[in-house]
Symmetry: C2
Subunit: 457 residues, 2 copies
């Protein structure tokens, strides 16, 4: 056996051209040689750079045990288009090669009509039944994330019997992780680590060596719960049971890694004012749909400030204070920035379960914090005013009003996410344009009101 | 063996009070009974709710094989304080129980003087040498993340020899994952899956059954690279080698999960204008340090718009156009929101390597997108103007200038992160206050300039 040197895959423009020219000249042998040698994740990367027809050509050319994994690595959009170009029979062949969780994901992406067609072409009846079972679970439930493939042993088996059975079962399981122990009623009663098995005597019974403590989730538990549990206890796989504790499947850490990334990206996008998961390469229409609603919210906020400012129109005719109008964008920006900062810290804290202590203490802390920040910023404003020869009282007024705005903005930014969270609403919604917009309005109003109080106009 | 029922740990206020009263009455037996039965991650959760003295009491009370893991689960701040209350000897005992990667993390958190004291108390010389080696690697390098614990076999061993050696090695390894295969020079040449070992014959040689393809990283590779690689290829562990390909250690997926979370949180915080990793429970001083710099940036932006608006002061004395001033917060908000949206999508795309195609095409797409959004928002502005009896030409002017501002804001939001990325700067810096502030300034200036052009004042 040769000692192949591992070379990290690097996609390049030359490579793309080479593959395209091989496709155009229908040089299937060369394509086989090229693609047989690289990882399915790399093949997916190459396909992502080809046209739909070219990508479909490669998928049809390669064996389904490779292409099934490639399909799983593709963007959902790209995959959808390629699947449209495949027959029900071809899709069924891909699915036959996939673990049940991935297979169910692919089937779920098809139209109902195609789902039926594809399912009817799956020859392995057990695989088919497993996929059908997985399709039943609600989206975002542990059941929808689990795979049926796992290694389980009966408590009444000996180690020898175990190893024999495991050899058979392991054929169908990509990664073994834990070995689950069940009783005669298929109920999960514990686990057996591979390490323990390595050191056990052949005639030992499973019931005398297994670990009776095992973390598990129910199929109806939410994906977020599963994710938190697996992270907290550093689990690489967790078994999924029904209400009678019968073993149904297992969830592995790679699925949870995807969940964590998606959660983080969703929160980030929400903070940026993007309502649904979109990517840079989505269509203009999808991007408009994701972005316009938040902009409309921002617009209404802006129009509200038009009304507020209109109310202070007479300030424009007072030479001593009309400069207040020059400061409205500054005040709005400060209110927005502070609000986003406060809410982001709270939202992350809530997500990580580390917002402790009472609400009052937290709000008091924000007041203290804002006072320090506000005094620093206010000093700069007064300095700026001195340079520009503004009246000292005017500069001081601007600084004081701005400090008040900062404090209120921080309070709103802290209070709103906590309130939403307590009402069971995802607080991430409060970090983006929502908090910016409401803080803009409050900020501008407060700014003029306080200035009016101090300057008596 | 009893069939223990697994009960999910739930922290409660009663529980906290109970633990505190047990500590106050020095009821060590009851505390032992209570804490011996729960997971170390749960113990950490309880300690997080206690005072420093109480937490230290528990740490000193329990066995170091439990408390070492508890220490790893604690907040860095909490851990630091507890470590200050422990003697060098006590810390050394904790460290003896930890895997080398965790041990090195703890040691690295100590002052240099304490590091030396603690290291001198570690009895296991191999463990000590391993920790010393790990401390040498640069922060953020693969070497700094790896553990020395792994299972490796020589290509010239038989399966029987393998299993025997592995039993010994596995004693020190929490999770086996892959078995790495080395040659006589300690060079990594492949891997052996546990599954393969299960089905091999006892007299087979490793060299005849191992898989010669193995992903690996060099100790000097960056943590981000390792994270991308492990995610792309769905790896649960990756070996780390030196430039001569000698096997040094391995990195497991649970460490990468932490990296992914930290990366996502860092980007999110940067977008929210928070410069360093802080948590809701950090001190006011730490929070000020993280938040004030971005606010000062925002302030300078706001002061710049004061100067711009001052330049258009004469508009205030023109009754037909003075209302333009009422729209400045709206325009600034729109410019900011659009810029944040555009940049967030690009930053995420860059992080996930799915920003494809040429820069010109991408900018053109943003123009198209902004035109659609702008027309929708512009229509609303004109409607609003009609309701408020604004002059039609004035409303149209506001709408048109706003559309131009939106297009420019989207272009800046797209262009800046791509430019930063090409220059090797983290583009996440461009999603928050940075883009909002520059777009505020550009937006307001553009708005007044275009309005001046159309309305000829």
């Amino acid at each position: 056996m040769s000692r192949e040197e591992y070379i990290r895959f690097q996609f390049s423009e030359e490579l793309r051209k080479e593959v395209i020219s091989l496709i155009q000249s229908r040089d299937d042998d060369a394509l086989h040689v090229y693609f047989d040698d690289i990882h399915h994740a790399d093949i997916a990367e190459v396909l992502g750079e080809l046209s739909l027809d070219q990508a479909t050509y490669i998928i049809k050319l390669l064996d389904s045990d490779t292409t099934a994994e490639v399909l799983m690595e593709l963007d959902e959009d790209d995959r959808e288009k390629i699947l449209e170009n495949l027959s029900a029979q071809e899709i069924a062949e891909e699915i036959a090669e996939l673990d049940t969780d991935d297979a169910a994901d692919i089937v779920a992406e098809l139209s109902l009509e195609r789902q039926l067609k594809v399912m009817s072409k799956i020859e392995d009846l057990e695989h088919k039944a497993d996929i059908q079972e997985l399709l039943k679970y609600a989206e975002n439930s542990a059941g929808s994330l689990m795979a049926k493939e796992l290694v389980k042993v009966n408590e009444n088996w000996t180690v020898t019997q175990c190893v024999k059975e495991m050899r058979i079962q392991a054929e169908f399981v990509t990664r073994v992780h834990s070995i689950y122990v069940i009783d005669d009623n298929d109920r999960l009663i514990g686990r057996l680590s591979l390490k323990d098995l390595l050191v056990a005597k052949p005639k030992d019974f499973v019931k005398s060596i297994f670990i009776p403590k095992v973390d598990y989730v129910e199929a109806s538990d939410s994906v977020e719960e599963v994710s938190k549990l697996m992270q907290k206890y550093d689990l690489e796989a967790i078994p999924v049971v029904d209400p009678q504790k019968r073993l149904l499947g297992r969830i592995t850490i790679d699925d949870i890694v995807d969940v964590i990334k998606e959660e983080a990206e969703k929160d980030y996008q929400m903070a940026a004012g993007i309502t649904q998961e979109v990517e840079a390469d989505d269509s203009i229409f999808e991007l408009v749909r994701a972005r316009l609603p938040w902009l409309i919210l921002g617009l209404f906020g802006g129009l509200a400030s038009v009304l507020i400012l209109q109310d202070f129109e007479e300030v424009m005719s007072l030479p001593s204070v009309k400069s207040l109008f020059f400061f409205t964008p500054l005040v709005a920006a400060m209110a927005g920035n502070v609000g986003v900062q406060s809410s982001a810290i709270i939202v992350q804290g809530l997500a990580n379960d580390n917002v402790k202590g009472s609400l009052v203490n937290r709000l008091l802390k924000e007041v203290g914090l804002s006072l320090i920040n506000g005094l620093a910023l206010g000093t700069l404003v007064v300095l700026f005013g001195a340079i520009l020869n503004f009246d000292v009282l005017f500069s001081l007024t601007v600084a004081i009003s701005m400090i008040c705005v900062i404090i209120v903005a921080a309070l709103i930014g802290t209070f709103v996410p906590i309130l939403l969270h307590r009402r069971g609403i995802d607080p991430a919604i409060a970090t983006g344009p929502f908090i910016t917009t409401s803080n803009d309005i409050f900020g501008i109003f407060l700014f003029f009101m306080i200035a009016k109080l101090i300057l008596q106009f």
